[in-house]
């Protein structure tokens, strides 16, 4: 499994693509594979403030429902509205068109505590 090297990852299987103070958030290839066919995504309202570790979104598949936690603290500035009609995009392209939200993060240095691609890969192999 290959994970984009420029992203950061959480042990809850979210990824973060940080540019300046904007963090694009999605779920990993591994997460979408474990969930199976995704049929519904519940996204937060733009403007919602979240703290790191708080519930950010909910992804529902035919066999499970998964809570997505905020990998960093901040405010939601954009959500991927395309997922409302095509939630399967997450299965097809988890690291690209299947992104969930963009956060304006309050402290970009929070990313330092996240895993890098090889660290995440190692974490998966241990699990």
């Amino acid at each position: 499994m290959t994970h984009p090297t420029q992203f950061r990852y959480t042990k809850e299987h979210e990824w973060v693509d940080l540019e300046g103070n904007h963090a694009k958030v999605g779920i990993t290839e591994h997460a979408q594979d474990k969930l199976g066919d995704i049929v519904f995504v519940e996204l937060p309202a733009v403007g919602t403030a979240v703290k790191k570790g708080e519930n950010l979104a909910t992804v529902e598949s035919v066999k499970a429902v998964g809570d997505i936690y905020a990998p960093m603290s901040g405010a939601v500035v954009e959500v991927n509205t395309q997922l409302e009609s095509s939630p399967e995009t997450i299965n097809q392209d988890p690291y690209g068109a299947g992104w969930l939200v963009i956060l304006e993060v309050s402290d970009p240095s929070e990313a330092d505590s996240l895993l890098d691609a090889s660290g995440y890969e190692q974490y998966l192999n241990e699990g």
Partner: protein, 440 residues
């Protein structure tokens, strides 16, 4: 359920396992002054036959709806239940199974659930109905919680003319959920007064027919609500003759299913009806059955959108305080299916006509007049010239049952009696009631 008594040896073994020497030690937590009030039952030793006779004699002293002429209403009504209802519900295939946890094995149960949901949708004019919840009052509270989840504002406006027990359940749920309940008064005609509707609401709750029996005007209400949801509480039998709330833009329709083939019992078990719009489906509480096709293309039924529910979503479920009243829902399904649309219309018409006949006769008596002038369905409130409790007590001696007038005086309608008239009341019974009122 099988009853197998445990022996003295069983009890000693169980007590030893938890380190106690006597059964009494189990009750050590009960304060001594309470224990001092305990009295031995000192039942006489008698044969089964003798005991059965004594109990039968005691039971005959009960006053119940079957042995009385009931004008009781306020959410529970004395409708005739066709024998086909208990014939179907008492079949062991339905009677012994609870809400299915291996649902696809119970295709028969799932089929009836799907039919129930379909019937409730047709009746209410809504797009989605769940497989039922506890009762009308808890269904209402669930509807208000759901509206809060959708709209996000912590205020609900509730008509004062709601059944008082619905209001109490609503207050309990809202207190726990931190939702403020704002009461909306009623007009002199007995209808909800919407002239000064508060802002920033998650929902408005309006009941029709309301606690006074009065039919509310639903037209134009939804349009005044901004983004708040319109929750309508209704009596399913009234929908045999009244336009369904769905036609007036209701977002959630709530009802008590008891009139649909379920006995009054001791106030339950009842049947909460809950219908809404498809766009709110994922916020709906309760179970849902859906139709699908199997691998061979044959129609089958399955539980659907279970991710809303507590066995999957745990504390984030749409509700952790509901269940499907499946046997009661089955009774309602059989009841509605046996009546059909025309039968339900005929039944509702009978209720309406008989109630109006009685109202006409009562209000012809000196001093008796309708408490409210707005149209009513099968129950109505009458302002009476003497103490309503005295009237009620006198009629009870004649085995004629009326609701306690305190329910209405608490709503600001003193000296008022409410009469519910179903298809079961004969002309003789109605005339007899009027004759008695005339001489009280």
């Amino acid at each position: 359920m099988r009853y197998i008594a445990n022996t003295g040896a069983d009890r000693r073994a169980m007590l030893a396992a938890i380190g106690l020497s006597s059964l009494e030690e189990l009750f050590d937590d009960i304060p001594q002054e309470v224990k001092d009030r305990f009295q031995p039952l000192e039942l006489p030793v008698q044969s089964e036959m003798e005991v059965a006779r004594i109990l039968k004699e005691l039971a005959s002293l009960n006053s119940c709806q079957q042995s009385s002429i009931s004008f009781l209403g306020g959410g529970v009504y004395d409708h005739y239940i066709p024998s086909v209802v208990s014939h179907i519900t008492s079949r062991s295939e339905f009677y012994t199974a609870y809400t299915p946890y291996q649902p696809e094995l119970s295709q028969g149960t799932l089929t009836t659930m799907f039919e129930f949901q379909t019937l409730i949708c047709e009746l209410t004019g809504m797009e989605v109905a769940n497989a039922s919840i506890y009762d009308g009052a808890s269904a209402l509270a669930e509807g208000v919680l759901m509206a809060k989840r959708i709209v996000g504002k912590g205020r609900v406006a509730a008509a004062q003319s709601l059944f008082p027990h619905y209001r109490r359940v609503l207050d309990t749920y809202c207190w726990a959920a931190g939702i403020k309940v704002i009461e909306i008064p009623y007009t002199k005609a007995g209808t909800c007064d919407l002239t000064a509707l508060p802002q920033d609401l998650s929902s408005l709750v309006i009941q029709t027919p309301n606690a006074f029996g009065v039919i509310e005007e639903l037209k134009g209400v939804k349009e005044r609500l901004a983004d708040a949801l319109l929750i309508v509480v209704t009596n399913p039998i009234s929908l045999g003759i009244l336009a369904p709330p769905g036609q007036f833009g209701a977002d959630i329709v709530i009802g008590e299913g008891q009139p649909l083939g379920i006995t009054a019992s001791f106030g339950g078990p009842f049947l909460g009806l809950f219908a809404t719009r498809e766009r709110y489906l994922r916020q709906m509480p309760g179970r849902l059955t859906a139709q699908t096709v199997d691998a061979e293309g044959k129609i089958g039924y399955t539980m659907a959108i279970q991710t809303r529910e507590q066995h999957i979503r745990r504390e984030r479920a749409t509700s952790n305080i509901c269940t499907n009243s499946q046997l009661c829902a089955l009774a309602a399904t059989v009841y509605l299916a046996s009546l059909g649309a025309d039968g339900l219309h005929e039944l509702a018409t009978l209720n309406l006509e008989k109630a109006h006949y009685l109202a006409q006769r009562i209000t012809a008596l000196p001093g008796y007049r309708l408490a409210f002038e707005a149209p009513f369905f099968n129950e109505f409130a009458v302002r009476v010239p003497i103490d309503p409790q005295a009237i009620r007590a006198r009629l009870k001696e004649e085995r004629i049952l009326l609701d306690d007038p305190r329910f209405l005086s608490a709503l600001g309608a003193p000296n008022t009696l409410r009469f519910a008239v179903t298809e079961k009341r004969t002309k003789d019974e109605l005339d007899r009631l009027v004759e008695l009122l005339e001489v009280i």
